[in-house]
C-alpha cells in the first residue's frame, strides 16, 4: 500500500520529480560529452556496459533482498571467496563449465545460509551478512595468504569478451538476467509474493504466504546472481584475490536505492535498479575521462548519488512512481 503525501505542487515540479533521475542522467551525459568528446562514443558506452555488467547483475540480486526488507553485505566477499575456489579448481582441471557450476553453487549456498540465518533464526540481515562477509573474505585470505591466483586458462579469461551472436558474453548475460528478473518480479506470482512480504509481513502471512520461505528465497536468488557476477568479474580481471569486490555490496545497495527502492522493502523495480547502477557507472566513467582529481571524484560522486536517491524517494512519496 502506498501512502501519497498530498500537497499542492506545480506541474513542473511533478515533471521534475517523475523524471528527475532521467534528467540527472541526461545532464551528466551532456556535461561529460562537452568536456570529454570521447565520452559519447559507441566504444565508451559499450565499455561501460562491459566493465560494469557484473556490478549491474549484482545490483539486480541485491534488489531481491532489499524488496523483502533485507540487505546483503556479503555479496562482495562471496565473489572473492567463490572466485578463489573456482580459480584453483579451474587451474587444476581446466574444466570451465564445471568451474562455473562450482562458483554459482558456492554463491547460492552462501545465499541460502544468509537466508536461513536471517529468516529462520531471526538475526538481523545487516548483522548476519556482515558476519558472513568477514567469514568469506577471511577464508579467502587464509587460502591465498594475500596472494593473487593468476594463470587462469585463456579460454576463461577471454570469456567475458567473447561474442555470441555478435554480442559480448558479459552483456548478453546481463540482458538475459535482466529479462528473467523482470519477468519473475513483475509477471509471476512469486514476484507478487516478494512485494507482499516486503510491504507488510503480517498481512502477507494472513494471506497464506509462507513468509519465511519467500524471505529466504530472496537471499538465495541474490547468491545465485552473485555467482553469475563472479564468473564475469573473474574472467574480466583474469585472476582471483581475497580483496576482490571490496566495495561491491555497498555500491549495489546504492544502485538499488537510487533506482527508487525502499530500504524497508515492498518497493522497487528492475528498470530503476538498472538505471541506478548505470548512473553510478556513468559517473565513474565520466569523471575518469574528464580527468578529475581522485579526491574531487569522491565528493562529486557522493553529491550525484545523494541527489539521485533523494529525487527518487521524493517521487515515490509524492505517488508519482
Amino acid at each position: 500500500m502506498k501512502k501519497a503525501i498530498m500537497f499542492k505542487r506545480s506541474r513542473i515540479l511533478d515533471f521534475l520529480l517523475k523524471y528527475g533521475i532521467y534528467i540527472v542522467i541526461l545532464a551528466l551525459f551532456t556535461v561529460f560529452s562537452i568536456i570529454s568528446p570521447s565520452f559519447l562514443s559507441v566504444r565508451n558506452l559499450v565499455n561501460i556496459l562491459d566493465q560494469y555488467s557484473y556490478y549491474i547483475i549484482g545490483a539486480i540480486g541485491m534488489m531481491f533482498v532489499i524488496l523483502v526488507g533485507g540487505v546483503d553485505l556479503s555479496s562482495g566477499a562471496m565473489i572473492a571467496f567463490s572466485g578463489i575456489i573456482g580459480s584453483l579448481y579451474l587451474i587444476s582441471t581446466k574444466n570451465i563449465p564445471q568451474t562455473m557450476l562450482i562458483i554459482i553453487g558456492i554463491c547460492t549456498l552462501c545465499g541460502l545460509l544468509n537466508g536461513e540465518v536471517v529468516s529462520s533464526i531471526g538475526v538481523p540481515a545487516f548483522v548476519a551478512t556482515l558476519a558472513f562477509q568477514n567469514m568469506w573474505r577471511g577464508a579467502g585470505y587464509t587460502i591465498t595468504l594475500g596472494d593473487t591466483i593468476s594463470g587462469l586458462p585463456r579460454a576463461f579469461t577471454r570469456l567475458y569478451s567473447t561474442r555470441i551472436f555478435g554480442i559480448k558474453f558479459s552483456i548478453l548475460v546481463l540482458i538475459i538476467v535482466s529479462l528473467v528478473a523482470a519477468y519473475v518480479l513483475h509477471f509471476s506470482s512469486y514476484g507478487k509474493k516478494l512485494y507482499a512480504v516486503g510491504d507488510n509481513r503480517n498481512a502477507a502471512k494472513i494471506m497464506g504466504i509462507n513468509v519465511r520461505r519467500i524471505h529466504c528465497s530472496a537471499f538465495v536468488i541474490c547468491g545465485f546472481l552473485t555467482g553469475i557476477a563472479t564468473i564475469i568479474v573473474t574472467s574480466y580481471i583474469g585472476s582471483a584475490r581475497a580483496a576482490t569486490a571490496e566495495t561491491l555490496s555497498l555500491d549495489c545497495i546504492a544502485a538499488v536505492i537510487i533506482g527508487g527502492a525502499n530500504v524497508n522493502g515492498g518497493e522497487g523495480n528492475i528498470i530503476g535498479t538498472i538505471i541506478g547502477a548505470l548512473l553510478f557507472a556513468l559517473v565513474k566513467n565520466g569523471l575518469n575521462l574528464i580527468g578529475l582529481s581522485y579526491f574531487w571524484q569522491l565528493i562529486v560522486t557522493g553529491i550525484i548519488i545523494y541527489f539521485a536517491a533523494a529525487l527518487n524517494r521524493l517521487k515515490v512519496r509524492a505517488g508519482l512512481d
Binding site: 570529454s36 570521447s38 562514443s41 559507441v42 566504444r43 565508451n44 558506452l45 559499450v46 565499455n47 556496459l49 562491459d50 566493465q51 560494469y52 585470505y141 594475500g146 596472494d147 593473487t148 593468476s150 579469461t157 555478435g166 554480442i167 559480448k168 552483456i171 548478453l172 546481463l174 540482458i175 535482466s178 529479462l179 523482470a182 513483475h186 509477471f187 568479474v233 574480466y236 580481471i237 583474469g238 585472476s239 584475490r241 581475497a242 580483496a243 576482490t244 569486490a245 571490496e246 566495495t247 523495480n269 528492475i270 528498470i271 538498472i274 565513474k284 566513467n285 575518469n288 575521462l289 580527468g291 582529481s293 581522485y294 579526491f295
Partner: protein, 348 residues
Amino acid sequence: MKKLLCLLLTMCLIMVGMACGPVASNSDSGSEGNPFGHDPKADGKLVAAFLCAEVIGQQVQFEIDEFEKGCKAEGFDEVIILSAENNVETQISQMRDMITRDVDIIALYSADPDGVVPGVEACNEAGIPVIAVDRSIYGGQVYFSVVSNDVSDGRDIAEYFGLQTAGAPEGTVKVLHCIGNLSSSAQNSRHVGFRAGVDGWPQLKIVAEPATEANADKTYNAVVDAFKNDPDIKCIMVTMDHLLVPVVQALEDTGHLFPPDDPNHVLLGSCDGATEQLKWLKQGINNDVIIGLDFAGFGTYAAKAAGRYIRGEESYDNKYQTISYVITRDNVTMLQEQSKLWGLLPGE
C-alpha cells in the same frame, strides 16, 4: 506494466545495438602503437595518465608530484591522476577508460602485479605504452619499469633486527610483526621478505602477527594487546612509517617506551622514509631503522621514460630498480646532506 515492459524492451534493444556496434579502434588517434616513436594526436596535445593503486600517504603524493613535474618538463600538456583504492577491477576499468580517452602513455602503480595484466594487454592492443612504477607487472608488454624490491625492503628490517640482537640465545628475541593492508601487494611482499629475514636469524622469533589493516587504531590496539600477552617483546615491524605513530603511543601508554640507549628499548622498524619518522631518527628518539624507498625516483624516472617514448629513443622492456636505503640514526644526517632522502631534504 505494459509501460514497464516497453521500457525494458527498449533498453534491451539499445544495449544490443550498442553491443553489436563496431568498436572504434585507437587508430583515429594517429598512433599505430609504434614502440620506437609516437605519432602525435590530431590536436597535438600530449596526455599522460598516472593510475595509482592508492593516493593516500605522503610518499605517494610525492611520487605523483614528481611525475607531474617531470611530464610537464618532457612536454606533456596534461597529466591525469586516478586512484583505484587497491581494487584490481577498478584499476582495469580505469585503464580501459584511459584507452577510450586516448592518452599517449599510462604510468601504472599497480594494485596487483598479476591482476592488472588484462588491463596492460588491453593497452598493448590499443597501442598505448605502459610504464610500471613502484612495482613490477607480471605480464603483458611493459615499455619501462621503475620499481623497488618490496621483498628485499622487508628483509632488510629483519636483517637490522638480527644484527642489533646478534649473540642472543636462540628464540629469545621476540618480534611483533604487524600485518598491514592485505589488499596491498607491496605490503604483502614486505611481510614475505620480513619473515624470510627473520628465519635467517635464530635468535629472532615472531610471537604475534596481528592484522592491523594499516589502520592506526588497530595498530595501537595490536601493540597494547601484544604487550599484555608478552611484555618481553623486543622488536616491532610495521610496513609503513606513519604506523609508527600509534606504535609509539601504545608503547608510551603501556610503559614500554624507552630511549635507544636503554637496555629495555624496543627496536622499531618501518618502510618508506616519511618526514616525521626521519626526524625522529635524527633526534635519536623512538625508532631505529627505516627502509627509505626512492619515491622521488619513481616519479622522475617514469616521467623521463615517458619523454623517451615520445621521442622514440628507447625500446620496450627496459627496467630500472631504484635503490632503497637502510636509514639509521648513524647515517640519516649523511644521507640527508647527500639528498638521498625524499622525506628530508638538505637543510630541513
